[in-house]
């Protein structure tokens, strides 16, 4: 496999994930709760498939974007619903 193409794919995927995480308020990497850890793991696994071109980059964008979006929406929803919801979807905010 052409090495320069791997560099382009890695760079592109890295920029997309950087943008997704920064614009989503870094919740995935900052919060440190169990769900955030799982999201980070899944994102890491998705990277690997893009590096070796096992999936087209468009599929990676949709997959990673949807995951970050879902995580973000659950966070926003949980924050609005308060304590009862937080018991269902544990969050680090409850620990204090």
């Amino acid at each position: 496999m052409d090495l320069s193409r791997i560099v382009v794919r890695v760079l592109f995927a890295w920029i997309v994930v950087q943008a997704l995480l920064r614009l989503s308020g870094k919740r995935t990497i900052n919060q440190g709760d169990a769900i955030s850890f799982v999201v980070a793991m899944i994102l890491g696994d998705m990277f690997d498939d893009v590096f070796w071109a096992e999936v087209p980059v468009a599929q990676f964008i949709v997959g990673a974007g949807t995951l970050v979006l879902l995580h973000l929406l659950v966070g926003i929803d949980g924050y609005r619903r308060g304590e009862r919801y937080s018991r269902l979807v544990p969050d680090r905010r409850d620990a204090s």
């Binding site: 496999m1 052409d2 193409r5 382009v8 794919r9 592109f12 997309v16 943008a19 997704l20 614009l23 989503s24 308020g25 070796w52 071109a53 096992e54 999936v55 087209p56 980059v57 468009a58 964008i61 949709v62 974007g65 970050v68 979006l69 973000l72 929406l73 926003i76």
Partner: protein, 148 residues
């Protein structure tokens, strides 16, 4: 709600870049190149995941070939090979929307070579035709024993 919109904008922008690259003629960088498609297909075949193998076929080929046909096509090869150890693929040639790649399955009892003709459909490489004959190099039993 601002972060949600931002994420959607990033997704749309990134998809736009990919679409532009494909429209500009990219067939190997932001999409899976033919050798990667051939390798993934061979991996599914070696693992007897025929349903998953179908997604690498062109729509025209999928009209003629289903899971059962794929099983009938590859099962004799797989039985000769035994358990697969490694799958590899290399690109033979690319010419605009057509390409050819060769996948090799190295297995317990020998090696199979899949020569796959590909076609680009909506920017994605798919297998256009399956070879009628899959050459299998079966290892000599004595060599097999010494290898173990």
């Amino acid at each position: 709600m601002k972060p949600v919109i931002s994420v959607l904008v990033v997704m749309a922008a990134a998809l736009g870049v990919v679409a532009l690259a494909i429209a500009g003629g990219d067939r190997q960088t932001l999409v899976s190149p033919p050798d990667a498609v051939a390798e993934s297909f061979a991996r599914q075949m070696a693992g007897r995941r025929y349903v998953l193998g179908l997604r690498y076929l062109s729509p025209q080929l999928r009209e003629r070939i289903g899971e059962e046909e794929l099983r009938r096509w590859f099962d004799p090869v797989r039985q000769q090979l035994g358990v697969a150890n490694a799958v590899d693929a290399r690109l033979e040639w690319v010419e605009r929307d057509r390409a050819s790649a060769t996948a090799s399955i190295d297995a317990e009892h020998g090696r199979a070579i899949l020569k796959l003709d590909m076609v680009s459909r909506q920017g994605l490489w798919v297998i256009d035709d399956l070879p009628a004959d899959v050459p299998v190099g079966v290892r000599h039993p004595a060599r097999r024993e010494s290898a173990q």
